[in-house]
Amino acid sequence: MVAYLAGIWRLRYFWTSLVRIDLRNRYRQSALGIGWSLLHPILMTTVLCVVFCPVFGTDYRQFAPFLLTGLAFWNFVVSTATQGCQCFFQGEPYIRQQSAPLAIYPLRTVLGTAIHGLAALAVVLVFTWSIHGFGNVPALFSLLPTLALMFLLGWSLALCCGLTNVIFQDTQHLVEVLFQILFYLTPIMYPARMLAERRVEWLLKFNPLAVFIELLRVPILEGRLPPLGAYCTAVGVVAAFLAIASLALVRLERRLIFYL
């Protein structure tokens, strides 16, 4: 385990430079650069505000930051999972040349999406501050452990999706469908308490992703520290994902090349 992580660390220059190349390629494609790819959540929020503010009878000043936070998280998870599906095919030429820890390939994916996610989060913060004034700084520091947990979640998710996709070629399609469904089951467009009020609380209880949205929203929107219980749940979810990913990795680390 330690030796494995040391192997990843030894190749740090390799994967960081790959991430740098990925990011540059992604943002150089358009003149607006990073702003262009942030346009998606902003446009989405605008449209949803126009439609749902009158429907739900809420104020856009409440609803827009609420929605942006949820979308920032969701886009991170979805893009990590879908791009993660391709991570080992992307790294195939390297895998065929030299034996290196396989976990560096999903790491490349998640670092890319994480940097993008941080930019989306910055938009959320700036937008919220411009409406509600500068937030509670100590509460904002509580985002750091949340982000670390999200990073580990993304890494293991990309790894699982990548491994599955090597063996079953329709994985990416299924992942896309699955997340489309999950989008409506996760409190992104509606507040979590609406589920409780309508007696479908269990939907929340069995959704491993819902807790992360709470961990993001409470400090950003309410300026409070999230409850400790939420952190515990999140740690549990991440631990479960990491365990599945590690088990899959142990089984396939040496044999994956035969499936490529």
Partner: protein
């Protein structure tokens, strides 16, 4: 200290006749208890035992499909053996399919950097080598261009320059001696020779029997995944040539 040891190594590929399967097929066919896609077993290597130590220069020869490249990949640690044991001590560098694994949208310089990092360089050790690699490739200002505009020959030059800038203990080479144009080939030969002189263990595959018998002191003749003969270079190369000639005569 450099050492490679293979003990009764065998490698069996399990190849699906229809490529990768899908979840859909897996579930549908699974209900009827049939294999989703027939699996064919290919015995690429069988019962290979080798012991290479300090100062060994080994050549591997054999017909196409005899398992030469597969054996190299087992030695390099890319393929895990299905049976048997593989022990390797020492830092390995392998030169195969060197033109693969470039990032086409990145410039030559960036490709030099991350390819070298992949071979285990760090930012500090690379700094001294960067100029050396660029100079050897003779690509000059082309290095500022994205790789998508490179010709195959230029790509080979770059790949070869990067791959050979390392000082490995164990060097594994697969048919890279025919790199680039004639002028570059001479240079490449000299560089390989230099690497051969410095590395402690060298294993190479080539169809060029002349250079094999010149560069190696021991030769392994692989036939259908088994070691057919192993011994002093000249002896094995002669036997192989004799065999090939007789097969040719039979065909005629």
């Amino acid at each position: 200290m450099a050492l490679i040891e293979l003990e009764n190594v065998g490698l069996t590929f399990r190849v699906r006749t229809h490529g990768r399967i899908t979840f859909k097929e897996y579930i549908v066919k699974g209900m009827f208890r049939r294999r989703a896609s027939a699996i064919m077993e290919v015995r690429a290597l069988e019962d290979i035992s080798l012991r290479l130590g300090e100062g060994d220069r080994i050549g591997i020869i054999g017909h196409n499909g005899a398992g030469k490249s597969t054996l190299l990949r087992v030695l390099a640690g890319v393929y895990p053996p299905t049976t048997g044991r593989r022990v390797v001590v020492g830092r390995i560098a392998s030169l195969f399919e060197i033109t693969l694994g470039f990032e086409r949208d990145a410039s030559g310089w960036e490709n030099i950097a991350f390819r070298s990092y992949f071979q285990g360089e760090t930012a500090r050790t690379l700094r001294d080598k960067l100029g050396q690699i660029a100079e050897f490739s003779e690509l000059g200002d082309f290095l500022n261009m994205p790789l998508r505009y490179y010709s195959t020959g230029m790509m080979v030059r770059l790949a070869f320059s990067i791959a050979t800038a390392i000082e490995p203990e164990i060097l594994i080479v697969d048919e890279v001696l025919s790199a680039g144009d004639l002028a570059f080939q001479c240079k490449a030969q000299a560089r390989i020779q230099q690497l051969l002189d410095h590395a402690r263990v060298v294993v190479m595959v080539s169809h060029d029997l002349h250079s094999i018998s010149k560069m190696c002191d021991r030769v392994i003749w692989l036939d259908h995944g088994r070691i057919r003969e192993v011994g002093p270079a000249e002896h094995v190369v002669n036997a192989y040539q004799h065999h090939s000639n007789s097969v040719e005569r039979q065909a005629a």
